[in-house]
């Protein structure tokens, strides 16, 4: 295995394109090193992007935030303005792993691992985040929900690399939240994750995005669930409909972390609880 | 070494079939080792079980493995499975 730490994304893309065998991009490394250790992935090339200028930066852009590909959880959560705009995204990222993992783990890495249970992804999907992708044909912006195509599979082409994530402008009267269910209080992979981002017009929900994790081969954006609460002030009937549509959207598996029945039911429970938090946040 | 004396030895239920259906065996002995040897002599089918390891309770005190512990006259003697731990 070769290790390279290029000083630009152009160089990174060149390295990735030149590799005949398997290549892996190293951002925080909290997934890649586990895969290396277990022998589930045996790359010929590791491209460490952390020495590329700007990858640790969070910059204001069009009222939103551009987050460098190597920004760690610690760095993200230290950014007070971003956290104030998108508390759900910040919390979702903060839930990944331990204090130690937070010192390394990145939004970009979480997205590229493409685990259906990735904590930050539903929050980013609900937020309407996009990923900036660079390849040999230049750069493009992709909706976060379009990156993962199946468990541990992404839509990126050979040689493509995500250089940053963009969180759009929060705007007025908005709030987001992410909740996950785990058996312990920390250190687990989400059995179910639910994120809600919404804006209010007075007491009523004006717009909403609801996203679910760990209940399908990819993180889901559930339009029906959003529609269930748009135009309401989260009355009981709306909440029940939200839970029902969220549960109905689930297509989970039974595994060591949870059963189909459990995941389906909990998706509804968490969607409701996350909606309530997002609503309260939007209220200010 | 004190004189051998009569001892009534209680067996656990699972040993009954190997002691001709008895759950008590009467032997003459002064120590745990003598007692176990005498029990085997009386019921040879118990040998495998006793050799596989047993402990002996004498008046409630569990003798895990020693064969030289004295058994006082009139003592309550119970053979139990061998004890160890984690």
């Amino acid at each position: 295995m070769q290790y390279q730490a290029p000083d630009s994304f152009d160089a990174a893309v060149t390295l990735l394109n030149a590799e005949q065998g398997m290549a892996r991009v190293l951002a925080g490394g909290t997934d890649v090193l586990v895969q290396l250790r277990a022998g589930t992935v045996e790359p010929d090339l590791i491209v460490d992007i952390k020495r590329i200028p700007g990858v640790h930066d969070i910059t204001a852009e069009d009222g939103g935030w551009r987050i460098g590909a190597a920004v760690s959880g610690v760095e993200l959560n230290a950014h007070a303005d971003l956290c104030a705009d998108w508390p759900g995204v910040a919390e979702a990222h903060d839930l990944i792993g331990s204090t130690q993992v937070q010192g390394r783990a990145t939004l970009t890495g979480n997205l590229c691992t493409a685990s259906p249970a990735a904590d930050s992804v539903p929050a980013m999907v609900a937020a309407g985040a996009t990923a900036r992708v660079q390849g040999s044909n230049g750069t493009r912006d992709v909706a976060v929900e379009a990156v993962g195509t199946g468990p541990f599979k992404v839509s990126l082409a050979q040689g493509e690399v995500i250089t940053s994530i963009f969180l759009p402008a929060r705007g007025a009267n908005g709030g987001d939240a992410y909740l996950r269910f785990i058996p312990r209080t920390e250190m687990d992979i989400a059995v179910v994750g639910a994120a809600v981002s919404l804006t209010l017009d007075g007491d009523k929900v004006a717009s909403a995005r609801v996203s679910l994790g760990a209940v399908a081969p990819t993180v889901l954006l559930v339009e029906g669930a959003a529609n269930a609460i748009i135009g309401t002030s989260l009355d009981d009937a709306a909440m029940d409909k939200l839970a029902a549509t969220a549960s109905a959207a689930c297509n989970p598996i039974s595994d060591k972390r949870g059963t189909v029945e459990f995941r389906t039911k909990i998706a509804g429970v968490l969607a409701k609880r996350a909606a309530k938090i997002a609503y309260d946040r939007a209220k200010g | 070494m004190s004189q051998k004396h009569k001892i009534e030895v209680a067996l656990w239920g699972g040993l009954k079939p190997f002691a001709d259906g008895n759950d008590k065996v009467e032997v003459e002995a002064a120590t745990t080792g003598q007692m176990l040897a005498a029990v085997i002599k009386k019921h040879p089918a118990l040998e495998d079980h006793i050799e596989a390891g047993v402990s002996v309770a004498v008046n409630g005190r569990v003798i895990a493995s020693s064969l030289t512990e004295p058994i006082p006259e009139g003592a309550e003697v119970v053979i139990i499975p061998q004890l160890k731990g984690g």
Binding site: L33, T99, R104, T185 | -
Partner: protein, 157 residues
Amino acid sequence: MIHVTTTINGDETEFVCDPRETLLDVLRDRLSLTGAKEGCGTGDCGACSVTVDGTVVCSCLVLGAEAEGKEIGTVEGIATGEDLHPIQQKFLDHAALQCGICTPGILVATKALLEKHPDPTETQVRYWLAGNLCRCTGYDKIIRAVMDAAKDMRSAA
């Protein structure tokens, strides 16, 4: 093999390693700094905790090659000469270790905690240390030692 120049506990250090070796492998096998322990190798137990440029990380989730130009801190660097750091002393005073295998990682993580949050609540301490597994103590005496160390360090500051 890769040649790396780094700083460990304040000392400039050079090593060569296979690109697949982790920082933990390097510390233990190449530099004989065996204070960081491998409990899992997958970032789940925290026994290998070190700081990289002041941020606490699992050294099993860092490649040795990534240490180039970084400042690494390990348990071996916590005491000053023969003087124990207050958190080390509190761990002894509170009998906060039984087998001691998790202790180096917990001390590294605690030191980072108290540098960032000198007055943590019990809940904050418990969540900060959630990635440091201890199987002996039930955490009770560890949490008490950390809280007590924080108190002493505040009054000394």
